[in-house]
């Protein structure tokens, strides 16, 4: 039987061990020339593997060391990770916030140590931010909406029907930005009825599946379109539709955004109508480039850095965007609508996925 004493000894040893290990890792770290911190909010969607590998490849090619982490959609985890990286001596931080509304505090933390922060992919609201690199979230919704209208015209003859908007994390700025375009489209087309606008905690595909199941029951399967803020959510929707035999691009319009492999597969299989491909390469590369630039020229003005970064590159643009607190120099990278017709020309041509991955071993 465990006596009090033994128990205490065990706990003490455990605590000591837990303290020593991080200390050792700190001792190990040598002072390198350029250290960049890169934190993604999650790895849940497959695309983030790409973000990570492209960013690190570019940064390392430019001679920088990258400290990487991902926060599992958990704010507190992200806070700890930011603190840790600041302690480890990064010179600039590239951050995709878990909570776009409160991440300003993380930026303030960094600023206290004189470290600049580049926002990545999701626009940080109501707080300080030095630079932003993001894809055109507003276009996402817009493109989805346009594709949806086109689909209605082709398959139904008229733009009339019921639409469900499947959103991501409640109160997330990106989700809001992406949804905006869709909502505007619905408003412009009086024949479209928005029957549901639901948020899903942690962008959970399981929850979106449940929502879809319940919606199908409520509307007796008479729902024409599901527009989703990301691929995972679309995945859940399709899982529910399949059980009703409705996972068919001829019957129901489903749109995702992220261009995860599974969803691209669904597109070519005719289960999902569109995906939005956010070109990750420009996003990740640009972010890495800018990060390195800031480290090399700490005194250069941020808008200048951003402007220079997009000079000569056609599809990327520079804008000062107000995030509710200040105007942030922002680089916007393009997004592309992916349909069954242009899969080969877009994701496969630019080597985002291989033909085998998309079509399977036998090909189509």
């Amino acid at each position: 039987m465990m006596t009090q004493k033994n128990y205490v000894v065990m706990i003490t040893i455990a605590v000591l061990v837990m303290l020593i290990i991080p200390l050792l890792s700190v001792l190990e770290a040598e002072a390198q020339n350029m250290k960049i911190g890169f934190i993604l909010k999650t790895m849940q969607e497959a695309r983030y593997q790409t973000d990570k590998s492209l960013f690190m490849a570019k940064a390392e090619a430019l001679g920088a060391e990258v400290l990487f982490d991902s926060s599992s959609n958990n704010e507190l985890t992200q806070l700890r990770q930011v603190e840790k990286m600041l302690d480890e001596g990064i010179q600039v931080l590239v951050l995709q916030p878990v909570n776009t509304g409160t991440a300003g505090n993380l930026v303030r933390l960094a600023h206290e140590k004189g470290i600049k922060v580049i926002g990545y992919d999701s626009m940080l609201q109501k707080g300080p931010l030095d630079l932003m690199v993001m894809q055109d979230s507003w276009s996402v919704g817009r493109l989805q909406g346009e594709a949806m209208v086109k689909w209605f015209k082709e398959k139904r003859g008229s733009v009339e029907g019921k639409v469900a908007l499947i959103m991501g994390q409640p109160a997330d700025a990106n989700a809001a930005a992406m949804s905006q375009g869709v909502l505007e489209t619905i408003e412009k087309n009086s024949g479209l009825e928005l029957i549901a606008q639901r948020s899903h905690i942690a962008w959970s595909p399981d929850l979106s599946r449940e929502t879809t199941e319940n919606l199908l029951i409520k509307y007796d399967n008479q729902i024409d379109a599901f527009v989703c803020n990301n691929s995972g959510l679309a995945f859940g929707v399709i899982a529910a539709l399949e059980l009703e035999g409705l996972a068919d691009a001829e019957k129901v319009f489903v749109a995702g955004s992220d261009a995860d492999l599974r969803n691209i597969q669904y597109v070519v299989q005719g289960k999902q109508v569109v995906e939005i491909w956010k070109k990750i390469k420009p996003l990740a590369y640009k972010a890495a480039e800018i990060a390195v630039e800031i480290v090399k020229n700490p005194d250069k003005s941020l808008p200048d850095i951003a402007k220079e970064a997009v000079e000569g590159v056609e599809v990327q643009k520079f804008e000062m965007i107000n995030n509710g607190y200040m105007d942030v120099p922002t680089i916007i990278t393009p997004v592309i609508l992916v349909t069954k017709d242009n899969v080969d020309d877009t994701v496969i041509a630019e080597k985002f996925f291989t033909k085998e991955q998309v079509y399977g071993k036998e090909g189509k």
Binding site: M2, Q49, S72, S199, R209, N214, I217, K218
Partner: protein, 391 residues
């Protein structure tokens, strides 16, 4: 004693007895009453609620929580708790899908997951709890984060899709309508048969046969089975997960009521030291209980992955709360030694109905949380009230 005094006191006694009967009914069937009330509320609020399709959906959605809750009932019965079940759901979903992705056959991956994830974690938990007497709260709290961490590590943080078409059938298929109806009819017959048997036995031992009790359970059973027949017979039959759930419920209920093992659980929960001195092997029994709940959680994870056709590492987040709520609403006492599987099933359905109903009504997520919490408080309060009246 004068005649009038005697008469008066007999009156009082009779009144008291009638009150006792009504209270007893409420107490014993309080949760069932609550369930019916909830169903009525939602049926009137939304016309799609009380339809065969939705009720089938509801049944299927409830099985996940329900399966975990069966195991959790046993754990709470012996005065323990397991907070790691939600993370085990996620870990098991990731494990089974990763194994299949690596090429393992579905029928190999599933038992492996059950054994390694379910059994392995159960043994780990059980060992620390039974051997070192570390409170289950702490051990399973730790395992909650460990299992979640493992799920994230194995999956690299990303979701794992499932290619094998057969896998989807496990969670998604139905028993054909005709077979479903036959099974339900058979259940009806079996119920009346066992009711008859138990009445005979009671007569044999001179135990009073409570007419009300029999009437109540007969009515409940008939109504329930007829409802099931209508629901499953009209839509698509009994969903596979529901079949699995029913089997588990029967097994669990049988074990608790009719086996040595079940008896020992109640004894341990009532007074662990007394149980030990009565010759019960506390160590082994605890180990079995903690393994049971983790294996059932792993099963739930596999079913969920099958429904979703893939697994994301955050699957199962906060499932432990629903499972524990179901158990408590169902009447199992945190003090241990009291509880039934049937109560837990009712508790699970109450939570399922809440989720389903509120989702149909379009109630925002946050309000759903608040409502759920309030219902749990209400249920426990009601339970305490009825217990007090008896005292």
């Amino acid at each position: 004693m004068s005649k009038t005094l005697q008469h008066e006191s007999t009156q009082k006694v009779l009144q008291h007895e009638n009150m006792q009967v009504v209270l007893k009914f409420l107490k014993e069937n309080g949760t069932l009453v609550a369930l019916v009330v909830l169903m009525l509320i939602f049926s009137f609020s939304d016309e799609s609620f009380f339809t065969p399709r939705n009720l089938t959906n509801l049944a299927r959605q409830t099985t996940i929580t329900g399966i975990i809750a069966v195991g959790m009932t046993m754990v709470i019965l012996i005065n323990g708790i397991d907070l790691s079940v939600g993370s085990i759901v996620g870990l098991s979903a990731i494990s089974v899908t990763l194994m299949m992705q690596a090429g393992l056959n579905m029928w190999l991956a599933i038992p492996l997951t059950l054994i390694l994830v379910g059994g392995g974690i159960g043994l780990w938990n059980g060992f620390w709890i039974a051997h070192y007497k570390i409170p289950p709260f702490i051990i399973t709290l730790g395992m909650m984060t460990i299992a979640r961490g493992l799920a994230l590590t194995f999956s690299g943080g990303g979701s794992v899709p499932v290619m094998a078409p057969g896998f989807r059938q496990i969670g998604g298929a139905f028993l054909p309508k005709s077979i479903s109806i036959i099974i339900i009819l058979a259940a009806l017959v079996f119920f009346f048969y066992s009711l008859y048997r138990s009445i005979q036995e009671k007569k044999k031992y001179g135990i009073e046969v409570q007419k009300q009790e029999i009437m109540t359970s007969a009515v409940i059973a008939v109504v329930g089975l007829l409802l099931a027949m209508w629901v499953f017979g009209s839509y698509r039959g009994i969903p596979n997960p529901v079949v699995i759930f029913v089997v588990i419920v029967f097994a669990g209920s049988f074990v608790l009521r009719n086996t040595k093992f079940g008896r020992r659980l109640y004894a341990m929960g009532g007074n662990e030291e007394a149980a030990r001195l009565s010759g019960i092997n506390i160590y082994r029994t605890s180990l079995i209980v903690f393994c049971t709940v983790t294996v059932l959680s792993a099963l739930a994870g596999i079913l969920l992955a099958s429904r979703l056709n893939g697994a994301s590492p955050n699957l199962g987040n906060m499932f432990e709360l629903d499972a524990i709520s179901a158990v408590i609403i169902g009447g199992t006492s945190f003090a241990g030694g009291i509880g039934t599987i049937t109560g837990t099933v009712i508790g699970a359905f109450i939570i399922g109905i809440l989720n389903n109903g509120m989702s149909l009504l379009g109630v925002p997520m946050f309000y759903q949380f608040i409502v759920r919490g309030l219902i749990i408080i209400l249920a426990v309060w009601f339970d305490v009230l009825t217990k007090k009246k008896k005292g």
